[in-house]
């Protein structure tokens, strides 16, 4: 039965590495037509590149666009037959091709489809031979199939590089986004536009003050001042996507805030071998508070307590009512505070920790003060520390206001 070279070639069109496919194609062609060497050259910008070969002594010879037997086959549609009449070093009748050394017969089959030249199949034989018309027809058909394989591979490669380019373009876009965020823009605008605006408006106001309201043109200065103020307002408004940090006071329950503040730390406490005790006042403890900010105040105290108990211990969270004040205490059984440090711990940037910021207690005290409260510390070196937050009892404050 005849070997189905055309079907085999068509099978190569499936996705895969084109180099591997062409080497395989060369092997198949060799087998199908009984030659000694088969090379497949793909034609490109720099001439013919050997993309697959099989059989005796096949070497990676490449050819320029008009070089050797492949060069003769370029642009042709029909196969080109080359042969020597006598064995040995005899003449190839003007064809110069070092790839022909040792052979007596060669067939150059162009790989062509739709008038487009893609390369050649280069078959060589040691013995003199002449393929019949049927073989040549089959070779032509196999070549057509192979051309499609090559075209497919080229398209795939283009697609691949387009994908790559797209990926690079995307990455570049992301980079540029990172370089100029909205925040950076706003900051730059603020500095470059708002500062000069303030100068303009500020000096216009000063000039107005110097000249007094009765001087002709005073209304122009007023106009400048008003317009500048409007521009500033527009700019501030644009920046306000970042929420203002002024206090948002609402009636809250100190117990609930304390509970909420400790919750995110529960895992840390357990893994640090720290027992959590809660001793909360029974019933609501009404305070006027900005819940989020007060939680930050607690966060800092709890974090400090945990950091002071490296070897474990007990953290006690207490809330209580004391006269007109609501108290909340965060106490630990950790290292405590040295007597000479205790006066400094609320100072900004005071820290005894290697990676400390020294701002935790500063922030806590600021927040508490903004709630019209106060904070106290009790500690002995080696015997733990207790931080007590005192806030006005909301109901009590209401009474005080009514009096």
């Amino acid at each position: 039965m005849e070997y189905d070279i055309i079907g085999e070639m068509a099978g190569l069109a499936a996705p895969g590495k084109s180099g591997v496919k062409l080497a395989r194609a060369a092997g198949l062609l060799l087998k199908a037509f009984g030659f000694d060497q088969c090379c497949i050259y793909v034609y490109g910008k720099s001439g013919f590149a050997l993309k697959g070969h099989s059989g005796k002594g096949a070497r990676a010879v490449s050819y320029g666009p008009s070089e050797g037997a492949p060069g003769l086959g370029r642009g042709k549609r029909a196969a080109l037959e080359l042969y020597k009449l006598e064995a040995g070093e005899g003449s190839w009748r003007g064809v110069e091709d070092r790839g022909l050394k040792g052979f007596r017969y060669a067939l150059v089959q162009p790989l062509e489809a739709g008038g487009e030249f893609h390369g050649v199949i280069y078959l060589k034989s040691i013995e003199r031979k002449r393929p019949g018309a049927e073989d040549r027809r089959r070779l032509r058909k196999a070549a057509l199939q192979l051309t499609l394989v090559i075209k497919y591979a080229e398209i795939e490669k283009e697609l691949e590089s387009a994908k790559e380019e797209l990926k690079e373009a995307r990455a570049a876009l992301k980079d540029s986004e990172r370089l100029i965020t909205l925040g950076d823009m706003a900051a730059a605008l603020a500095h470059e536009i708002k500062n000069p605006l303030i100068s303009i408006g500020g000096f216009a106001a000063r000039l107005g003050k110097h000249l007094g309201p009765d001087v002709p043109g005073a209304q122009y200065l007023e106009r400048i001042f008003v317009e500048v103020a409007r521009l500033e307002k527009v700019m501030d408004g644009a920046f306000r996507f970042i929420k203002d940090s002024s206090l948002d006071l609402k009636p809250e329950d100190m117990n609930a805030i304390a509970e909420e503040a400790i919750r995110p730390f529960e895992e840390d406490l357990a893994s640090g071998g720290i027992e959590l005790r809660k001793d909360l006042h029974q019933g609501r403890l009404p305070v006027l508070a900005d819940r989020e900010q007060l939680k930050i105040a607690f966060d800092n105290l709890i974090a400090n307590a945990i950091q002071s108990m490296e070897k474990g211990g007990v953290l006690t969270m207490t809330t209580a009512l004391s006269g007109q004040y609501v108290l909340a205490t965060v106490a630990d059984t950790g290292a405590g505070i040295e007597p000479d440090a205790i006066d400094k711990i609320f100072n900004p940037f005071f820290t005894t920790k290697r990676n400390g910021t020294g701002l935790g207690l500063t922030i806590t005290r600021t927040i508490v003060a903004r709630h019209k409260g106060s904070i106290k510390v009790e500690s002995r070196a080696g015997a733990g520390a207790a931080f007590i937050i005192m806030l006005p009892h909301a109901a009590a404050e209401g009474q005080a206001q009514r009096q």
Binding site: H191, S199, G201, F239, S245, N347, P348, L359, I363
Partner: protein, 120 residues
């Protein structure tokens, strides 16, 4: 004796404006155009209050604030910025007041009066 304010801002127009306005208010005013210069001035003469811009080339206001509070922990510092975002910057919590810059200086003047008046 008059209380003395040190104004630290890299913007020349603003330094001039603040100087004139605060002198009108009855304060002595010293000027520094950079963080580095402000620290030199603080070493050289008695200052009662620092008006500090945050965004400056070189040493920025937050760093100046850190150094000031390290050395003169009771010296009040007012942070000023054109950009409200800084209000959330960790370091700004350590200042005594925080004012967003505006051509209307009423709030800033009041803040200065509150702080310097309190200290008398």
């Amino acid at each position: 004796m008059k209380k003395r304010i040190l104004v630290v801002d890299d913007e020349e127009g603003l330094r001039l404006l603040y100087k004139e306005e605060f002198e009108d208010e009855g304060w002595d005013v010293e000027l520094a155009a950079s963080g580095e210069e402000s620290l030199e001035k603080l070493e050289q003469e008695p200052i009662d209050l620092v008006l500090l811009d945050i965004k400056m080339p070189g040493m920025d206001g937050v760093e100046v604030l850190r150094r000031v509070k390290e050395k003169w922990k009771d010296l009040p510092v007012i942070l000023c910025t054109a950009y409200p975002h800084y209000k959330h910057d960790f370091g700004t919590w350590a200042s005594d007041a925080y004012v967003i810059k505006s051509s209307d200086l009423t709030e800033l003047k009041q803040t200065v009066r509150d702080i310097l008046g309190k200290k008398q």
